[in-house]
Symmetry: C2
Subunit: 557 residues, 2 copies
C-alpha cells in the first residue's frame, strides 16, 4: 500500500535549492574547465573577442518594485513574513531563465525586467491563496521552479497586469508518499530531481530522469515543460512518468489521481503536463519510479557517417533493442568533440585506432544500457550484434565514461565561451524517421546561412538525442563569434531561421525545451488555429483573469 | 519517405463493412455455440428462463423521421443521393450500440429512439460540409464507426436539437499513406481494424490492435474511445498508436501532423484521442505500425490463487519481462472456463494434471509473447523463470490455443444467453498495483450484492486484462437470471453499484470501454469539477452549437 512519507524522508528530499550564479549557470564555486587548446581551436574556427566578464551584481539595473506596501503585506500575510522578498538580489535571481539571450542581458546588467517580488509558498493551499490575492490585485504570476528554462519560460512578463511576482516553489520540496508496491511516489512540485533521485537511490529505486539541468531542475518544472532527460529513450520522457497531478488554478483546484491507464475521455493529465504555468501552478505530482538497474553500462560506437548511424538507430528501434541512452553525433559534432578532447593520449589512441580501420571522418555514438540483470544484458547483446551488422565499430567503455563525466558540463562551458565573446546556443526538434535526414540538413543549413549572412560564419553541429519507434529527436548546437552590441539580433536571426526550417521540414518546434516565449510564434503552425483556440479556451476557464505566466506558450486571444 | 497509397491499396483497406445483426452481435450467419452442458451449468447456478428470441425487424417500432424533406435533400446535395437514408432498416441498425441495455431494448423491438437519418460522407471535406449543414439546421450528429460501443456512445440522442443524424464513416475506409521507413500509416478514420490488419499482413507489418470488437471496429472509433486490445500490454493501447489526427469540428479543422514526440505545450492529441465524437469527427489518423512478429507464442499458466497470480504479474512488470498478451482469471472465472469447456478430454486431462500437483482451485493465466525473434524468445524465457519462482505452473500451448480460438466469441455467447433469459454484462477498470486486490474484492462484492438484493443472485468473475508498470486493469463479467420486464432496472442497479465501488476504490471508471452515456455520471469524480469545466470549454470552442454527440462524455454545462 501507499505509505505517507516519514517526516525524515520528507525533509531529506526537501533540501533547499543549491546556490546558482545570477549571471549564468550553476554552482558559483565551479571552476573554469575550457582547456587552452579548445579555446585556440575556437579562435581559429569562429574567432573570439576580448574577455568580457559579467558586470557586478550591484550594477544590475532594475526598475523599482511596482508592488504597493499593502500588497506586499498581504502576500506576507499568506505565506509568512520571510517568504516574500523584493530585495535586489532575489529579483535579479528571478529576472530570467538560462537561455542565451537571458545570459547576454544579465551579463550586461540589463535584464528585460524583474519580478516585482518573489514569493515562496509552502504548500498547495498557500499557492491557491496567493493566486486568489494576485487575481484581486491584478498581479501576473510566473511559476518558478529551478529557473532553468532556456526558452524564456520564466521571463517576468506582466502582460496587462499591474505587476508581476515570481512564485518560487523552493519551499515545496517534500516527499509526500511512497508506494513500493505500485512503484510510485507523490511529491510536492518544488522537489528537485537530484534530491528525489538521491533519496530514491537509498531505497534501491530510481526516477531515471536526467535532463542537462538535472542539478537544479524541479519535478514540477519537468512536468510543466514536458522535459526529456538523457536516459529518456529508456525511461520515457517526463510525461510518461506523471501518473497524477494536482494543479492550483485561479479558478480552483484540479486534482487527478495516480492511474496506470484510463479511457475516461480526453486526457486532462496531458493538458496539465506541458501547461508551462499558463493554466495554474502544478503543486503536487504522482510519479512512476523503477528499481535501480542491476546492470548498467555505457559505451562508444563509431559509424562511418551520420546516415549509417541513423540507419542503425532505426534498426535498433525496429528490433526492440533500443539503448536507454542513445546519442549519435553528426560529423561536425564528432570533430568538435575530438578537438575539445585535445591532444591527450586517449584521443590520440582513438584516432590511431579508427584510422587503422579506415575511419577518417565518421560519427561517434554513445549507447547506455540499464535494467534488470538479464534484460539489460540480453538487450545489449542484441544491440551490439545489430550495430555490427550495420557497420558500427565498438569503441568500448572509455567514450561512455567520458560522456558520463562531462554530461552536465555544457552550461558551464557556455558561460566561459560567452566570456570569450563566443555565442553558443542549442535547439532541438523531433520528426519521423523518413524526415530526419533531410531535416538535419535543412536546419543545419538554415542556421549556418543565418550566421554567415550576419557576417559571423559559425560552427553548426547536431546529435540525435532520443529515439522512438517512429522517429528521433535532433539536438543542434551552434557557435559563432558574437556580434558585439548586436548579440540579441544575431541570436534572433539564427533562431528564426532554424525554427522556420524545423516547421517547414515536418519537425516539432520543440522536442524537450518547451515553448516558453521563444517558440510561441511557431505554435499556430504546430497545432493549428483551432488547436490554439482549444487551449486558449482551457486557459480562459482555469485562469479567467489571465494572470498565469502571460506572454508564454499561447498567443494572446 | 512516406508514399501515397496506391489506388489498389487504398481500396483493399476500404472494404465495405461486413453485415451486422441489428438485434445483437456480429455476423448474421454465425451459428449457436453455447454447448448444452454449459447451458445446464448456468441453469443450475443462476437459473434461466424460457427462450425469448428477438422480435422481427419489421416489428421494431420507430417514430417517424423528424427530418424535413428539404433538409434530407440538402444532405443528399452534400454527400450524394445514395449516401443518405431514412429507411427503417438503416435507422434500426444505427439506433444503438451493443451494450446490454441496447440489446435488451432492440430484442424487444423498442429502442430508445433512432437517428432521423443516416448519412455516409466520403471524406473529410464532406464531413465538414455535413457538420456545417447540421449546425444551420440544429441537427445533432452522432459519429458512427463500427457501432460497437457498449457504453451508449452511439445512442441517437438529440439533446435540445430538432433532430439527430448518425454520421456513418463506412465509406471513409481508405489507406492514404504508408511510410515504411518511419513505420507509420495514414488512414481515413472509417477504416476497419480488421481490414487494415489484413492489408498490413501482406506487407509484413501489423498494427497489433485486437479489441474484442475487432471484426467490426473502425480505427476512428478506437481513437475516439481510447480503445485497448488483447495485445495492448505489448503494443500499447490505442492512444499509443495515434501519432497524428485530423478532426472535422463544427468550428473548423484541427489537424495535428504525425510526430514521434513533442514538448510543444499541452497535448492537443491527447484531447482528441478519447473525445468520443463530442468535439467533432475524427476524419483521418496517422498510426504507428510494427513489423510482423517473427516469433509468436501463447501459453497457459496456473497459479494457486488470484493473489499469487497478481504478485507474479507485478514481478513481470518490475523485471521488464511483460508478455504482450497477459490475462489472469480469478477463481470464479477459472471455474467458469472449466465448466464451459465441459467434460471434453482436454479439460479432463487438465484437471487430472493439476489435481496431481495439488492444485484444487486456482487461477488460469494466458501469456502471449511476440516480437523480433531473439527479443521475444529471451523475454519469454525470463518470464517463464520468474513465473516458476512465483509458483506458477506452465500448462503449455493448449490453453493459449483455446483462448486464441474463442477470443472474439464473447459477444455471440451473450446473444445466446439473452435468448435464454440470462443477463450477462462486462465492465472494467484499472488501478495502481497496491489497490488492485482490494478493488477486485470490493467491486465483485458490490455487483454480487446488487444482484442478490434484486432477487437474482448471480455469478461474478474477473480477469486482469492489461498490465502496466504501476498497475493493472480488472475486467469483470457477471451473469444472472433476467428479471423479466425489469431487465434495465436490474442492470442499472448492478452497474451503479459497480461504478460507485470502482471510484471509491481508487480505480478509473473505465480502462477501455470509454465513457459514452453510461459512465458520464462518474466523470466528475474522475477528473473533478475543474477538469469537467476545462473539457466543456474545449467543447464550447470546437462545437459552439453543441451538436456533436450530445448527452455523452461530459455533463451538460
Amino acid at each position: 500500500m501507499a505509505e505517507a512519507a516519514t517526516a525524515a524522508a520528507a525533509r531529506a528530499v526537501a533540501q533547499r535549492p543549491p546556490a546558482m550564479r545570477w549571471w549564468g549557470w550553476g554552482d558559483p564555486t565551479h571552476g573554469a574547465s575550457l582547456p587552452q587548446h579548445a579555446l585556440r581551436f575556437l579562435r581559429e574556427t569562429v574567432g573570439s573577442g576580448a574577455p568580457r566578464p559579467p558586470v557586478a551584481l550591484a550594477n544590475v539595473r532594475l526598475e523599482p518594485s511596482r508592488l504597493r506596501a499593502e500588497v506586499l503585506a498581504a502576500l506576507r500575510g499568506v505565506v509568512g513574513a520571510d517568504a516574500v522578498s523584493d530585495a535586489h538580489g532575489e529579483r535579479v535571481l528571478h529576472a530570467a531563465g538560462k537561455g542565451y539571450p537571458d545570459l547576454v542581458r544579465l551579463r550586461r546588467g540589463e535584464p528585460e525586467g524583474a519580478p516585482d517580488a518573489v514569493v515562496w509558498p509552502a504548500d498547495h493551499e498557500q499557492v491557491a491563496a496567493v493566486l486568489a490575492l494576485c487575481g484581486r490585485e491584478s498581479l501576473a504570476v510566473v511559476p518558478f521552479g529551478g529557473g532553468t528554462s532556456v526558452v524564456g519560460g520564466v521571463a517576468p512578463l506582466r502582460g496587462s497586469h499591474a505587476a508581476v511576482i515570481a512564485l518560487d516553489l523552493g519551499r515545496m520540496g517534500a516527499l509526500l508518499e511512497l508506494d513500493r508496491s505500485s512503484l510510485t511516489v507523490r511529491v510536492q512540485a518544488g522537489a528537485r530531481a537530484i534530491a528525489l533521485e538521491s533519496h530514491l537511490g537509498g531505497l534501491g529505486l530510481t526516477l531515471g530522469h536526467f535532463p542537462q539541468s538535472y542539478e537544479y531542475v524541479t519535478l514540477g518544472g519537468c512536468a510543466a515543460t514536458r522535459s526529456a532527460g538523457q536516459s529518456s529513450t529508456g525511461y520515457g520522457s517526463f510525461e510518461k512518468l506523471v501518473l497524477g497531478v494536482r494543479l492550483a488554478a485561479p479558478a480552483g483546484e484540479l486534482a487527478l489521481p495516480a492511474l496506470p491507464a484510463t479511457a475516461a475521455g480526453p486526457s486532462v493529465r496531458g493538458l496539465l503536463v506541458g501547461s508551462e504555468g499558463a493554466f495554474g501552478v502544478i503543486s503536487e505530482l504522482s510519479l512512476r519510479v523503477r528499481p535501480q538497474p542491476a546492470d548498467r553500462s555505457c559505451e562508444g560506437v563509431f559509424f562511418e557517417s551520420f546516415a549509417a548511424g541513423l540507419a542503425a538507430l532505426r534498426e535498433l528501434a525496429r528490433e526492440h533493442a533500443l539503448p536507454d541512452v542513445a546519442r549519435l553525433s553528426d560529423e561536425p559534432e564528432t570533430r568538435m568533440s575530438m578537438a575539445l578532447a585535445g591532444g591527450g593520449a586517449g584521443a590520440l589512441a582513438a584516432r590511431l585506432y579508427l584510422g587503422a580501420r579506415g575511419y577518417g571522418g565518421g560519427c561517434l555514438a554513445i549507447f547506455g544500457f540499464e535494467g534488470p540483470a538479464g534484460e539489460a544484458a540480453q538487450r545489449r547483446a542484441r544491440a551490439r550484434a545489430l550495430v555490427r551488422r550495420c557497420g558500427g565499430l565498438r569503441l568500448g567503455a572509455a567514450p561512455g565514461r567520458a560522456w558520463l563525466r562531462s554530461r552536465f558540463e555544457g552550461p558551464y562551458l557556455r558561460d566561459e565561451l560567452l566570456t570569450h565573446g563566443v555565442m553558443v546556443e542549442t535547439l532541438e526538434t523531433a520528426a519521423q524517421w523518413s524526415l530526419v535526414p533531410q531535416l538535419h540538413r535543412s536546419v543545419g543549413r538554415a542556421i549556418a546561412g543565418a550566421l554567415s549572412a550576419g557576417g559571423t560564419p559559425g560552427l553548426v553541429m547536431c546529435h540525435v538525442s532520443h529515439l522512438y519507434e517512429t522517429g528521433a529527436s535532433l539536438y543542434f548546437t551552434f557557435l559563432a563569434r558574437q556580434r558585439e552590441g548586436e548579440e540579441i539580433e544575431q541570436w534572433q536571426q539564427a533562431k528564426r531561421a532554424a525554427s522556420d526550417a524545423i516547421v517547414a521540414g515536418g519537425g516539432t518546434i520543440t522536442h524537450h525545451h518547451a515553448v516558453g516565449r521563444d517558440h510561441r510564434p511557431w505554435m499556430a503552425q504546430e497545432i493549428g488555429a483551432q488547436g490554439i483556440a482549444a487551449l486558449q479556451a482551457v486557459k480562459a476557464q482555469l485562469d479567467p483573469a489571465g494572470i498565469m505566466n502571460p506572454g508564454k506558450l499561447l498567443p494572446s486571444p
